[in-house]
């Protein structure tokens, strides 16, 4: 297991390096980017660019100093918020995104697995159909549609929850954003879980176990869950990525100062420094999360470790 982990780590690093290099060159060489001579920039921004990117140095020197900066955690200046560098803004926004994201992740896994198991156990009965209907809605309705409706219903009409804002992390302020973020993943995970569990339950060795006289609950717990979880776990990697990108919408609508919000404001304001820095950061984060998921997968299914 340790050897597998080590090997995966070794392959992760070149991945990151390629991605970061790609980002550097996209920004440097793309027409319409800040380095394009055609593009007019305010003088202050030009000064920032020159200072950070060392524009007079040869390209390779710039590249290595950029790489060095990234390793040091210095992601460059933000072009639209003069008082805070990219790294400083990410450091400020990260806790918000992580808190919402991890809560949504946990919620998605717990509710998704639960809904999937229930759906599989009570197949084709009323409960299954009811859950399936809700699941479908969660899959199909975009989150920027669900969020304002929830805000209206729970925030204004019923006045049970605050409409937006962080409120110092109070639970009431977290309920809606986390739910909206988790919804599509609850849906997908439950579909995967249900399908996989049904398949496993019909398999040969489950029938043997049942024939042996083990109770249904034990059969499920001991033999069916683990293999049925594999498609769910393999979804978790991309899910982490989707959660991060989904948080962009949630943070915007609910007014939470997370990284997603910074990213989209930077994109709309053509703050290339911030956009690039955020993309690099997201990549690092997602690659690490994927690595963790791979390791989890390997633990669940030893055949993968070869």
């Amino acid at each position: 297991m340790l050897g597998y982990a080590f090997r995966r780590l070794l392959t992760t690093i070149p991945v990151l390096w390629i991605a970061i290099t790609a980002c550097f060159f996209i920004l440097r060489l793309a027409p319409g980017g800040p380095f394009d001579g055609e593009r007019p920039l305010p003088a202050a921004v030009k000064a920032n660019l020159a200072a950070y990117y060392g524009l007079d140095d040869p390209l390779l020197v710039q590249y290595f100093s950029y790489l060095g900066g990234v390793l040091r955690g210095d992601l460059g200046p933000s072009f639209t918020t003069a008082d805070f560098s990219v790294a400083e803004q990410i450091a400020i926004g990260l806790p918000y995104t992580l808190i919402i994201g991890s809560l949504a992740f946990v919620l998605a896994v717990v509710l998704g697995v639960l809904a999937g198991v229930l759906g599989a156990l009570y197949r084709d009965r009323v409960a299954d159909w009811a859950i399936a209907a809700l699941i479908l809605l969660g899959l199909v309705l975009p989150n920027f549609l669900i969020a304002p409706i929830l805000q209206l219903v729970f925030g204004l009409t019923l006045d049970w929850l605050p409409v937006g804002g962080w409120g110092g992390g109070a639970l009431t302020h977290l309920v809606m954003p986390v739910t909206v973020l988790a919804l599509p993943h609850i849906a997908r995970i439950s579909r995967l879980m249900r399908g996989a569990l049904i398949e496993v339950m019909n398999g040969q060795f489950i029938r043997t176990a049942t024939a042996k006289g083990l109770s249904r609950a034990t059969v499920i717990r001991r033999h069916a869950l683990k293999p049925a979880l594999t498609p769910v776990v393999s979804y978790l990697g991309p899910a982490a990525g989707y959660l991060l990108t989904g948080s962009i919408v949630v943070e915007t609508i609910f007014g939470l100062p997370g990284i997603g919000r910074y990213f989209i404001n930077a994109a709309l304001n053509r703050d290339y420094g911030m956009v690039l820095g955020t993309v690099v950061f997201y990549m690092v984060l997602i690659v690490i999360l994927n690595l963790l998921v791979d390791l989890l997968y390997a633990w669940l299914d030893p055949k993968v470790r070869t």
Partner: protein, 300 residues
């Protein structure tokens, strides 16, 4: 997904049977799936409405009706879905939006299929080192947050609807490539491929005559399941402001604009949302139906 029973070898079929009995069986199973059939019917209706509807609607999608700004839906007034804040007929706009969303989805899926199939087939067929390298490449790309790249590209290159199609297509080919490669790998090991090679068929001929036809199943299924994702991605980008630009519109844009005003002008949200939900649900049911139909391991 490659159970023996379901495999169709063109060289050992009885000569007088139809091109794909497997296909016929699958169609029969599909037809029995009520949800899938409903989805198919609805999808066809929507496609019909989107394509030929504009010839029958009383108003077009861009001329403001100065006597009816922000008008609620009314049958007598002629604006069956109401009008928007620029006096444009919502029915026409919704149909336009549906066309655009479907076009984006179709082009993006096509791009994804073409790249994915070629990539996956080559990797699976050639195997060995090349396969390892190509799959590593896919793994690398899989890990990256593609939406962010798409947005980064749009920021740099400006908002171009063709760039949008291409970018979304490039998001989806990875999984297609993986599936195709997996299928190709297992096909390659069949004895009949050895036999074909022994008989002197070139590699390209083998790929063309034996492998590609058997890829149709999984590719179609996956494509059907991806389209909802693509429509959702396009809505997401439109909501953020990176999608199609005026005067073009898409279902995502219409819904995004509608959510801002749904308390005072609710029709601006409900009609496009109904179209989007129906479209996505139909696609979902069809995709599920196809998958169940082609998969011969009894699902009980």
């Amino acid at each position: 997904m490659s159970a023996e029973a379901g495999y169709d070898d063109p060289d050992t079929r009885p000569l007088d049977s139809a091109r794909s009995t497997r296909g016929r069986d699958a169609w029969r199973r599909f037809r029995r799936n009520r949800a899938a059939m409903t989805g198919l019917v609805l999808l066809c209706l929507i496609l019909l409405a989107a394509c030929i509807g504009p010839f029958f609607t009383p108003f077009d999608n861009e001329t403001p009706d100065w006597s009816a700004f922000r008008a609620p839906p009314s049958l007598e007034g002629g604006h069956w879905f109401g009008t928007d804040q620029n006096g444009r007929d919502l029915l026409a706009r919704t149909l336009q939006g549906t066309r655009v969303s479907l076009a984006v989805a179709a082009v993006a899926t096509l791009v994804a299929v073409m790249i994915g199939v070629v990539f996956g087939a080559i990797a699976g067929y050639v195997g060995g080192r090349l396969d390892q390298a190509m799959m590593r490449f896919v793994d690398v790309l899989y890990a990256l947050p593609y939406i962010l790249f798409v947005i980064l590209l749009m920021v740099i290159f400006g908002r171009n609807v063709y760039l949008l199609f291409a970018a979304i297509g490039c998001l989806e080919w990875l999984t297609m490539a993986r599936i195709v490669r997996g299928q190709t790998l297992s096909l390659r090991q069949r004895e009949f491929i050895e036999a074909a090679r022994a008989a002197g068929l070139s590699s390209t001929a083998i790929v063309r005559r034996h492998i590609v036809p058997n890829l149709v199943g999984p590719v179609v299924i996956y494509a059907a399941l991806t389209v909802p994702e693509i429509v959702a991605t396009e809505s997401f980008l439109s909501y953020l402001g990176f999608g199609v630009q005026e005067p073009l519109t898409s279902l995502g844009t219409l819904i995004a604009e509608g959510t801002d005003v749904f308390e005072v002008l609710p029709w601006l949200l409900w009609f496009p949302a109904a179209f989007l939900v129906t479209l996505l649900l139909s696609l979902l049911f069809i995709g599920d139906g196809l998958r169940d139909a082609f998969d011969t391991r009894g699902r009980g």
